[in-house]
């Protein structure tokens, strides 16, 4: 990149100096430059001015994103070309040389500093008791000042263990409409919430109707899925994304974030991807007038794992 330059402009440079013809560079052919770069540079600056005026006009007329973008881009491209060419063609070219000054102070300076500093330190360290008291004071103050961090959030408490689903809670859709068992044909899916808690982050459940014959619930879960209606937490047990995709034929549930797959017919057990735990089931029942409601909360904490999560 260094360009040998013959015409000694800028004599009297303070720190930078030219090396006396650095080896190996003398033989290199001097690049022939086209004459009068000034004209092109001026044209580039002219383009910038024109594009700037164009931008102002477009803005004045109400603005248009693409035009604004291209006009400003052209304006800055003109500046870039003009300044670049100016610097490469018309300004003093190197190579200039600057010497490194040695770092690391001289032995005498270091010794002088150390002596002076140690003297002062000794004056302080003679009061060892006061020093310790100061450490205690600052330590206590520092620890005390951490306490306000507690204001940032509530105590986790039982929040991670439970959801708003309760025995008897009515299942409603996202717009608050109560869900009837008859709303779902075999193979259809609906995201449901406990009535009054549509906004809660942990309450979304997938309500799916499968063919009652293929659904063979475990004995301890008998009665949790009347008429082939099964409900599981919608939160992936991996990183908490909503498990948004349901494949009818295979009865598999897919999480679009990290591609975990859950087998609905086998307690929503994970069969592929990074999720390690099944989607907790929500025991449901159908009321006499055909509405779906919960028989209790999910079988366990929903969503991603945490340190104190029970097995």
């Amino acid at each position: 990149m260094t360009r040998p330059d013959a015409d000694g402009r800028d004599a009297g440079v303070p720190a930078g100096r030219r090396p006396g013809a650095p080896e190996g560079e003398a033989g290199r052919p001097v690049r022939v430059r086209p004459p009068r770069p000034e004209r092109r540079i001026a044209a580039a600056f002219g383009l910038t001015a024109a594009a700037a005026i164009g931008f102002a006009a477009v803005y004045w007329q109400g603005g248009q994103t693409q035009l604004e973008g291209v006009l400003l881009a052209v304006a800055f491209a003109g500046l870039a070309y003009g300044l670049g060419a100016w610097s490469a063609r018309l300004m003093p070219q190197g190579p200039f040389v600057e010497e490194h000054e040695p770092f690391g102070s001289s032995r005498r300076q270091r010794a002088a500093f150390a002596a002076e500093f140690e003297e002062d330190v000794q004056a302080i360290s003679r009061r060892r008791f006061l020093g310790r008291a100061l450490v205690l004071a600052v330590g206590a103050l520092g620890a005390a000042l951490l306490f306000p961090l507690r204001s940032l959030g509530p105590r986790p408490g039982r929040a991670l263990y439970q959801t708003p689903w309760r025995a008897g809670a009515q299942a409603v859709t996202a717009d608050g409409r109560p869900v009837r068992a008859a709303d779902l044909a075999v193979g259809s899916v609906l995201t449901v919430f406990p009535a009054g808690h549509v906004e809660a982050g942990d309450s979304a459940a997938l309500l799916i109707r499968v063919d009652a014959d293929v659904l063979r619930p475990a004995p301890e879960r008998a009665g949790w899925s009347p008429q082939g209606l099964v409900a599981h937490s919608k939160l992936c047990t991996h990183a908490g994304c909503p498990v948004g995709l349901y494949e009818q034929g295979s009865n598999l549930l897919f999480c679009p974030c990290h591609q975990s797959v859950f087998d609905l017919l086998d307690r929503a057990r994970p069969i592929s991807g990074p999720a390690a735990r099944p989607l907790p089931q929500l025991p449901i029942e159908i009321t006499a007038d055909g509405y779906v409601r919960a028989r209790g909360d999910f079988e366990g904490p929903v969503g991603p794992g945490f340190w104190s999560r029970p097995p």
């Binding site: 990149m1 260094t2 303070p14 720190a15 930078g16 190996g24 803005y59 994103t65 604004e68 973008g69 291209v70 881009a73 800055f76 870039a80 070309y81 610097s87 300004m91 003093p92 190197g94 190579p95 200039f96 040389v97 600057e98 490194h100 040695p102 770092f103 690391g104 001289s106 032995r107 507690r150 940032l152 959030g153 509530p154 986790p156 929040a159 991670l160 995201t191 919430f193 982050g201 942990d202 979304a204 991996h238 990183a239 908490g240 994304c241 909503p242 948004g244 679009p256 990290h258 591609q259 975990s260 991807g273 990074p274 390690a276 735990r277 991603p304 794992g305 945490f306 340190w307 104190s308």
Partner: protein, 478 residues
């Protein structure tokens, strides 16, 4: 005339003439790779400028408002204040969309420039003594920039970034012992707590940029104090810097670079749509968009989350959730390794001398191999973050792709490292001009020579020590 008088006025009060004289004639090396850091710097300036504009219109609230504005499909919809104001500043504020898109593109290029700059520093050994401090500062800035990128694209409260925040919450939750508390303190309660957008806003526009400005000042201050390193060449020694002077040539060239970057970012911001939050829709805790990919610089964490097997284990009867390893441990080890590298290399090579002349990458086959293996690992992680998109395009089941990805992640990086070692070693031993000039025989010779020391070299590190030491190294003699 006025200039001269005000210069004298200033000098009478600050005595700045001699400092100004030396700083204006600071010499910058002319090699193009020294401008990579400048690209990052100018992207940062662009981010601050466009970001300030955006703050005037953005409202960091999760309270419900009704959007009324130029974007007809959302007119009258009840959405959060953050989402409504993001859509409004895109469609109802003149140049708002341009500013937002330039801001987002600048963030992508910013991170890319930092990573490429880091690679240049790594492969040329510019982190060696006396520049370890600037390496540490640089790695810290990379971490902060990653975080600020994430916090920034999470602000509009759209469906894509909202799910990203939920994953961040789950990752925080996965930290042993303190996870639940930490997640509740950071997010202000169980997800989706109302606080998080507002907090991220403060962090995104004040805390992290403030830290970045401070570190940037230190980075550049140390650079000026230590002066630039340079590639070896005629007239270049361990005691000098050869190149262009700051004033006027280099300053003008650098300003030209700034303008060129602005031109590219404005063209991208004007023409290439990015993060169309109005198409994603507002965040709803029970909804998700598909396919969902984060910005590229977070992709490696996303890929790690996707590829890590379904393993969870218990310690003292307590659960260590699955995301802990890929999303906490892997990034933690990554940055720890980055921080420690200069000292690790010093320890391995026993080379503790100050260096002003850079290595050619081929001078250090082991360093090159380590770098190539690492880059392959993170590149593959980034690629696997798109396994759902690949599955859609190739019609290969995503589960097969996940398995293939796991295998490639284990096999690919060691292969890349070994291949790099052989090629670099062949380059060094044969003295060939470039990779394409290396003959097959030379590659075979390099494989045979693996493990043996460089011919004609004594104990490890002797070759380096023969070079004249400068800075600090020589101080003991005076």
């Amino acid at each position: 005339m006025i200039l001269r008088r005000s210069a004298r006025w200033l000098d009478d009060r600050l005595g700045a003439a001699s400092v100004a004289r030396t700083s204006l004639s600071k010499v910058f090396p002319d090699h193009w790779s020294f401008m990579l850091g400048e690209i990052a710097l100018y992207c940062f300036v662009t981010l601050v400028l466009t970001g300030v504009f955006l703050t005037f219109f953005f409202e960091p609230g999760t309270n419900d408002v009704v959007y009324h504005g130029a974007y007809a499909p959302l007119d009258g919809a009840r959405v959060s204040a953050a989402y409504a104001s993001s859509v409004r500043l895109s469609f109802d504020v003149r140049t708002g969309l341009l500013m937002r898109q330039v801001h987002h593109w600048a963030a992508l290029v910013f991170l890319a420039a930092i990573v490429v700059h880091l690679c240049r520093i790594f492969f040329t050994g510019a982190f060696r003594r006396p520049r370890e401090l600037n390496w540490l500062i640089g790695v810290s800035m990379l971490a902060l920039s990653l975080f600020n990128g994430f916090s920034g694209y999470s602000l509009p409260d759209d469906l894509l970034s909202g799910v990203g925040l939920r994953i961040a919450y789950s990752i925080t939750l996965s930290i042993p012992v303190v996870g639940s508390w930490l997640a509740f303190l950071v997010f202000g309660g169980e997800f989706p707590a109302d606080q998080i957008i507002h907090r991220l806003f403060v962090v995104h526009i004040l805390l992290v940029p403030g830290l970045l400005v401070g570190l940037l000042a230190a980075h550049i201050g140390i650079l000026v104090r230590q002066k630039h390193s340079q590639f070896p060449g005629p007239g270049r020694t361990e005691h000098n810097v050869v190149g262009s002077k700051l004033w006027p040539t280099y300053a003008t060239r650098s300003t030209a670079l700034f303008c060129a970057i602005l031109a590219v970012l404005l063209a991208l911001g004007g023409f290439a749509q990015i993060n169309p939050i109005w198409l994603y829709g507002p965040f709803e805790p029970s909804q998700v968009s598909s396919p969902a990919q984060p910005d590229w610089y977070i992709g490696w964490v996303e890929g790690a989350l996707r590829m890590y097997p379904p393993w969870e284990f218990r310690v003292f009867g307590r659960l260590v959730p699955n995301p802990f390893v890929p999303a906490v441990l892997v990034p933690g080890v990554t940055f720890l390794a980055l921080y420690l590298w200069p000292f690790l290399e010093q320890w391995l090579t026993r080379d503790r001398d100050a260096h002003q002349l850079l290595d050619r990458p081929r001078d250090h086959p082991v360093r090159c191999a380590a770098g190539a293996g690492t880059l392959a690992f993170y590149g593959l992680l980034l690629a696997t973050a798109s396994n759902d998109v690949v599955a859609r395009l190739t019609r290969v089941p995503v589960a097969s792709l996940t398995w293939a990805g796991r295998v490639i992640l284990l096999v690919g990086p060691p292969v890349a490292a070994a291949a790099t070692y052989v090629v670099v070693r062949a380059l060094r031993d044969s003295g060939a001009e470039g990779v394409l000039q290396v003959s097959f025989g030379q590659l075979v010779a390099a494989v045979r020579a693996t493990g043996r020391r460089r011919p004609g070299r004594g104990a490890r590190g002797q070759g380096r020590r023969r070079r004249p030491a400068t800075i600090a190294g020589g101080s003991e003699d005076r």
